[in-house]
Symmetry: C2
Subunit: 614 residues, 2 copies
């Protein structure tokens, strides 16, 4: 039996000392939850194999309030797995104990630090336990009271209740104080209780510094069947050190040397040998699932198919070969066509309703538990989850994202539904993949490339049906491109993808009638981009024109401009530059000057200018 | 007294006919709320001067469920302000009646269509009425039940209750059906009632097709003092047409010709002369406020100041001259330094807590009501509100946004807190302004340029103190830049902004020691970008190197590459390309190869290569 008081005291000691040594960090936010986390991790409830952090049946612990990292690291120190020397390297460049937890530290489940994201990640892990791996592990998420203001929390709450995640336990550390002052509700725990109840969770209200209540609460929480449980704990920020306890103005401030000495005197003698024991989990593992053969892609060249439709068909086709796949959609599966997968494999599909932030967080949780989530909604609405997408790169996520209804070419629905900034958004991510197929064959092939690839990959699909451009056995690769038209007499290279590639092909025909030949490149992989082919095209033609159904910044045009900058060949970018509106797709392509006619005009203008300059 | 039954029938007629004529649109989502909106607009509660949509005391009506645009336009047709001919132009390129409402249509308050945003906009308008303009107008927001899954709704709910907005009335049209099937709660209105209550609103549950209940509910809602009211109405999607009523599979589908004929037969005779009357509002207006003189900028050149601090100082300094300003912050005002403004003008400051989406929606509502909101949080957390930011461009917003703690140079807090994609995000917006000052003088001057400018403007600030570079009387302009070092012998132009400009200046000194001179440009306006100066620099030096504390895509580097592409001069970009982590600012700048040393190396490498090529 662990001596919880000694452990809690040791954890407070570490939290104070490591942040003072670092000269930054959040000791007071750590102290408020020190008893709660000691009770959870060392009170007998939490099951974890310290020698095997990857054990599929370990309980999961996520610090949504990631700034309480001193507490988080201290827990593992108190378990005997981080030395005091390592603790004192906190926040240093060479240490895996970063300012906010990252997966550099082996016991971190997911990188946190942008508030209001941990619960969604936990929901993903709990969905995995209950519906996919079918394992008894539980997922615990430590939440701050300030971050309960984030709407994403309530998305996670409603989805957890909807999916009856009795294996998910949240703990709200109600320490009353945010960064710059009091929270909206201070110590009024009834507000949290009522909201939690209204969102379908079981609330347990406790004193977060009274160990018997803490232990009882966790015990009670593990009795839950089909309802997630929220422990709402009244705590004091800085608890245990009188001159910072429950005081405003101490957020994110370590104690200075003399203050630390005073605090440690108050804390009294520490037993550094108070190593806490954690019981191991039941050694059960998910059923093995091997991949099996799949049918080849099969389109007839005379029937146009929307790439969004090919996305759905592709998901369904490849699943047998990639059995870790799971598909999520935000209430638009009949538009993104992920419903094709859902109809065939309903047990691998999760309806996420209109709550994109939580969907992305759930995908991250599933990804960390070894699944390969394919997530879809309109490209425009993915902007809703940019913070979650951004954070998932720091969790080394393996997530595949599809944004449908890209561009002004969706037509009549108007600007609110047009994804015009998605390429820019996804290009910013480190090592991300951004794909933009122009026909159903390439769309399906690229869906499979995404499944093979490890990391964050985005595919942009088009609403309209588009002609088939490729043979069913054509090969596509991440980082590739296709030169569709080329001759020795090309006066320019036109680079496009998606709907504008078809405009470029039409422009090619029109220019050819007038005796002008152009190279046409299908840049289906916008990141990584096929620098070699682009540079060749630039050098050969001396003039590059890009065309995209996307805003002018951060998209295909800038990717190409950047790729060929060293050649000295100028790049001209046709892109969406006027306020988009309702209309037919053709009207809008013409209006935004990204149509075949605009390409023809641009080629002729630029070729003429060049001649003049000579 | 209006004949509400005739009006509701006429509105149903228009909703059906206009969407059938357009061949797309959302008639069923319009029919469910037709009685509710008829009761509101023509039942005597709603006050509006149809001849003066800009009257400051008009009640405000926002369709958060923007896809019910046929209903929205039909209301104004029933008020006699849109002709049937205009109605039949719905969704056409030349019509102001777009697929989802935009401000092209004169009675639209704000563009909607990305769900879960209208309530926040309404909160902004209600905040304005209660705290700023001090006018008796009320704000009404029509909400869909599906969109209540969006977390942003609950952010708006909590803030509205916190600010005691008794002048805000929401109406949830609980028609049970989303796009692809049933909502999470179907017709269980108790779920909405309990949640609304728990979030501090007064719920009124009604039958949304029974006019006496509807009228009573709106009457009751106007009695509210300090609590916002939510009318929760049970409705049927497609109400009034038996074969689509309460049927799944009819979302976003207009009736075909024969179906329409059948529906109109069911509807029975229509009285197109049933013009509804709307009482005018009390003719009160906000107090006039004229600007007065302000103090000049005043920094001493020997004391470094963080640009984030200058942001706060700037807000406080310029307010007397720009009395329409209002400042919002998401619980980090002591980090962004908007607290300097708050301390001096508490009545013009709104604490928005950790709920960035709602903050941005509130700002839009305030902007539409003539205020000039300055909104701040960490640059990283602005990604949370990208969808709201994206949508605000379609509402022709006049919003000023500040993202602090940009870049890896924040140091020890680590990746989660580092804004590394904010420039890319804000550059995508049509006609946006993106500013990135390097010292306190330029920061303050640019804050004032933002206040003067009409539109969306972003300023990126730095955590660290940086030296003063400019005299207090130096002039800065949107679209400008400063050449800080220049000579006839420059071997390259180094373009930077913010923290990296100081690295570039240091690199200049180091290179000068070695006999190499470079031009150094402060690109404080990244969008619009100073194309002329950049092209001159490129032509003069034949080599451009950019350095930025931002990911490589969509940022300063691509903006410059694009700007000078026509010159044929190559641009090389130093940017954040490795997984950032905790460490000191200097360690991280070095690690990411955006430090003075990296600039020196890049200049030398590229100059050497150029010589070799010659």
């Amino acid at each position: 039996m662990n001596d919880l008081d000694s452990i809690a005291k040791l954890i407070r000691y570490y939290s104070l000392v490591m942040s003072s040594e670092a000269g930054s960090g959040h000791p007071t936010s750590s102290l408020s939850a020190a008893d709660l986390m000691t009770g959870l991790v060392f009170g007998g409830t939490f099951k974890y194999d310290l020698d095997d952090p990857h054990h599929p049946n370990n309980d999961r612990l996520i610090f949504s309030k990631g700034h309480a990292s001193p507490l988080f690291y201290s827990l593992w120190a108190a378990a005997g797995r981080v030395s005091e020397k390592e603790m004192l390297e906190f926040r240093k460049f060479t240490s895996s104990l970063e300012g906010h937890p990252t997966r550099d530290f082996k016991y971190t489940e997911a990188a946190t630090g942008s508030l209001g994201q941990g619960l969604s990640i936990g929901v993903g892990m709990a969905l995995n336990a209950r519906y996919l791996d079918k394992l008894p592990y539980r997922t615990y998420v430590l939440l701050g009271d300030s971050e309960m203001a984030e709407g994403s929390q309530w998305e996670a709450m409603e989805i957890a209740a909807h999916y009856q995640l009795g294996n998910l336990i949240g703990i709200i550390d109600v320490n009353r104080l945010g960064q710059r002052g009091e929270t909206m509700y201070g110590h009024d725990l009834s507000v949290y209780r009522d909201r939690v109840t209204a969102f379908g969770w079981e609330p347990i209200v406790i004193d977060g510094h009274y160990m018997p209540q803490i232990l009882t609460a966790f015990k009670q929480a593990t009795q839950a069947k089909d309802k997630p449980v929220m422990i709402i704990a009244k705590t004091l920020k800085g608890k245990g050190v009188s001159f910072i306890e429950d005081k405003n103005g101490w957020h994110g401030k370590p104690l200075k040397k003399d203050e630390l000495a005073r605090a440690l005197r108050e804390l009294g003698p520490i037993d550094k040998k108070a190593i806490g024991q954690i019981p191991k989990p039941e050694n059960v593992r998910p059923a093995e699932c091997g991949g099996s053969d799949i049918k080849p892609v099969s389109y007839s060249s005379d029937k146009p198919v929307a790439t969004r439709h090919a996305y759905g068909t592709g998901l369904e086709r490849i699943y047998p070969k990639y059995p870790h796949m799971v598909v999520l959609d935000a209430e638009v599966s009949n538009s993104t066509y992920s419903e094709i997968f859902k109809a065939r494999y309903p047990e691998r599909f999760f309806e996420m309703y209109i709550a994109e932030q939580n969907m992305m967080g759930n995908a991250l949780g599933l990804s960390i538990r070894g699944k390969v989530p394919f997530v879809s909604t309109f490209a425009a609405f993915l902007t809703r989850a940019f913070d979650q997408i951004r954070m998932s790169q720091y969790s080394l996520a393996n997530i595949k994202i599809c944004g449908s209804h890209a561009g002004v070419s969706i037509g009549e629905d108007g600007s609110s539904q047009m994804g015009l900034e998605d390429i820019a958004m996804f290009r910013t991510l480190l090592n991300s993949v951004v794909l933009y197929p122009s026909d159903a064959v390439s769309a399906e092939k690229l869906v499979e490339e995404m499944a093979k690839h490890s990391g964050i990959a985005y595919i942009r699909t088009t609403r309209k049906e588009t002609p088939i451009l490729y043979r069913n056995d054509e090969v596509f690769r991440i980082g590739g491109s296709k030169v569709l038209r080329s001759s020795k007499a090309d006066v320019a290279a036109v680079v496009a993808a998606g709907i504008t590639l078809h405009e470029a092909l039409r422009a090619y025909e029109e220019l050819r009638q007038e005796g002008l030949l152009i190279q046409v490149i299908d840049l289906y992989s916008i990141k990584p981009v096929d620098v070699e082919t682009l540079i060749q095209a630039a050098r050969k033609t001396g003039l590059v024109i890009t065309v995209e159904d996307h805003f002018a910044e951060g998209g295909l045009g800038e990717a190409v401009t950047n790729a060929v900058s060293s050649t000295g060949v100028p790049v001209y970018t046709l892109a969406v530059r006027k306020m988009p509106r309702s209309g037919t797709p053709d009207e809008l392509l013409a209006y935004e000057e990204i149509s075949h006619a605009a390409i023809v005009k641009e080629v002729k203008d630029k070729v003429k200018n060049r001649k003049r300059e000579r």
